[in-house]
Amino acid sequence: MENMVNVYLFGKQYRVPENLTIMRAMEYAGYKLVRGCGCRNGFCGACATIYRIKGDKTLRTCLACQTKVENDMYVATLPFFPLVKEVYDINEISPSQRVMMQLYPEIYACVGCNACTKACTQSLNVMQYIAYAQRGEFDKCAEESFDCVMCGCCSSRCPAGISHPQVAMLARRLNGKYLAPKSEHLENRVREIKDGTFTELIEALMGKPIEELKELYNTREIEK
């Protein structure tokens, strides 16, 4: 028999096998999930969850699909959190500090409590990336925030009302579009294709009998 543990889902007690994730434990208990479950594998941030272990005052946050249950765990899921997403035209803005001041001025009200970092389900240094955003260092903000799944746990703990994931999203787009170096080979290739450089080659392939294509494929040179 599997080892069982006590968990409290929204306060109600269930006994579930100890090797389950919180998400599987909910299903074991009989919940058919609609909200709070997306990718089931740590990429989409749909399953943000808050918990506390009996006897411990610390409030913890996690992704329900990535975290094993523990004995005497009190679980509340956070399937939606009202993050503020400002809209902008990516072609009209520029990667300057001003854009953050205009769109997300509340980041300058950060009190430095670091609750966001402690809450991050991806172990990111959230307060640090907000500091980069404040200074207009979008490349650094982008790098530091890259693994963010936008679950919103950080924002749920922020006394200044910052929507950290959205700030980081803006920084990454600015970095990707304006700051990261341009890829010359890519631009060249797009131009060559437009100019029809490969049209003949492709058309020749399109017209070849299968046997000939098989031969070409099986003998093609493979880059080391």
């Binding site: 074991y28 990718c39 693994d147 880059e223």
Partner: protein, 535 residues
Amino acid sequence: MYAKEFQESLKAVEEAREANIAYEPARMTAKEKEDLLAAYHPDYKKDQFEELKIGPNKGEKVPKELCGILEARSRIRPGDVDLNNPKYDVDVLVIGGGGAGASAAIEADTAGASVMIATKLRIGDANTMMAEGGIQAADKPNDSPAIHFLDAFGGGHFAAKRELLSKLVCNAPEAIQWLNELGVEFDKAPDGTMVTTHGGGTSRKRMHAAKDYSGAEIMRTLRDEVLNRGIPVIDFTSAVELILDESGKAAGAVLMNMETGDLSVARAKTVIIATGGAGRMHYQGFPTSNHYGATADGLVLGYRVGAKLLYAETLQYHPTGAAFPQQIFGALVTEKVRSLGAKLVNRDGKVFMHPLETRDVAAASIIRECSDRGEGVQTGDGDAVWLDTPMIEKIGGEGTIEKRIPAMMRMFGSYGIDIRREPILVYPTLHYQNGGLDINVDGMTTSVENLFVAGEAVGGIHGRNRLMGNSLLDIIVFGRNAGQNAAARSKKTTVGTLTLDHISKFDAEREAAGIETDVVSPMLLPDYTRKKSEV
């Protein structure tokens, strides 16, 4: 840390590591591959397939589970909704908020059409978000769209529709550029050169990536753009039936609120199905790497109104699903782990194949190792083989894993396995729906006018197998294409009277064929609640 029952095998793997790194296993010949596939690939297990008795592909075989939902009953009766009072009325209705749907919506919006997205969960809760490895495009000087074409055509067993594949490869560089200009961050060298690697079956290094969050980076950027443009996203709302007009053209869909069950009508001049894959159908009992809503809904919706399927009998089993620990059973271990140098190793520490064979061949080879050859490692949930991740650090230098595949490191790290020092256990997992609805170059189905399809719900772009990195590519290329063409067509379309007559027609066909079934479809979500019998 692995428990002691793994230690003996682990030791063999460690001892052989240096030699295995240096060893370059031969690639299989065409004949060897064919024999291997026929003997071990799940697509070749005849008793797992069933002949469709009704619908446009009548007489063809598809997986049993798919046959069941294609022939099933509708979730609604025509009288359940008032077709004369649509809640939504748009030019272009996009069904599905993954990468294909978002790209289509953005392009339709750019073309000046009114567009909305209805999606089952939240926008971005989708297979696109989970793609790790990367996206292909022939943009390096030693590469060309023609070489890309050949790789994909051969990898797909020479079955792709050539005109679709040609569009895919020729529009690939532009797709990367489009994403980059939206702000997607690709891995680049300081001079701007894209960092590209091999994927299974590629003959040039053309896999572009954003660490191992490639899909997430693309998806969150597209989502942000959809929101910036104010395109309405109706979330937690699934399409459960398409609507045609009296002339047989697609003209909208019946939508269902996933939480309240409420039905509503969306009328549209053109409809784009972008509902993605089918991993949660668990064909042949396989675990899956797919998101929660991957239940082949688009195939059902299209099939019932008469759209033809192509290659629906071919599925992709990703060779490296996590086999241990149990909490992540079936989750994807990205192919990039092998691109970066990790090899597949059996119980005795022997490298049993070239790590970069195409996916179907690699999956079959692992299944052979774990079955007839008896060379698998027992995990408690079946057998598995090792993927020797510490090789990556030895080849690429310390820190390579953290820099290039942080998601993998995190996934196993949560369960106490440090993939920089310890290898991981893998077994094939149901990953991708190769087949789907048949389309022409404009992205419209070949049999229902004004019904477009994009993304994993399409069949024919890749043939009978898809190479890593060509799917993220197809959702962008054909997503944009569908959005542009659906918008253009909507300008020339006037919608007639809406009908759901196809439901009773399909019912009549089913009855005439003598099929008895209580199953309703689309399935929408799998049911993972513990069955009472298990208590």
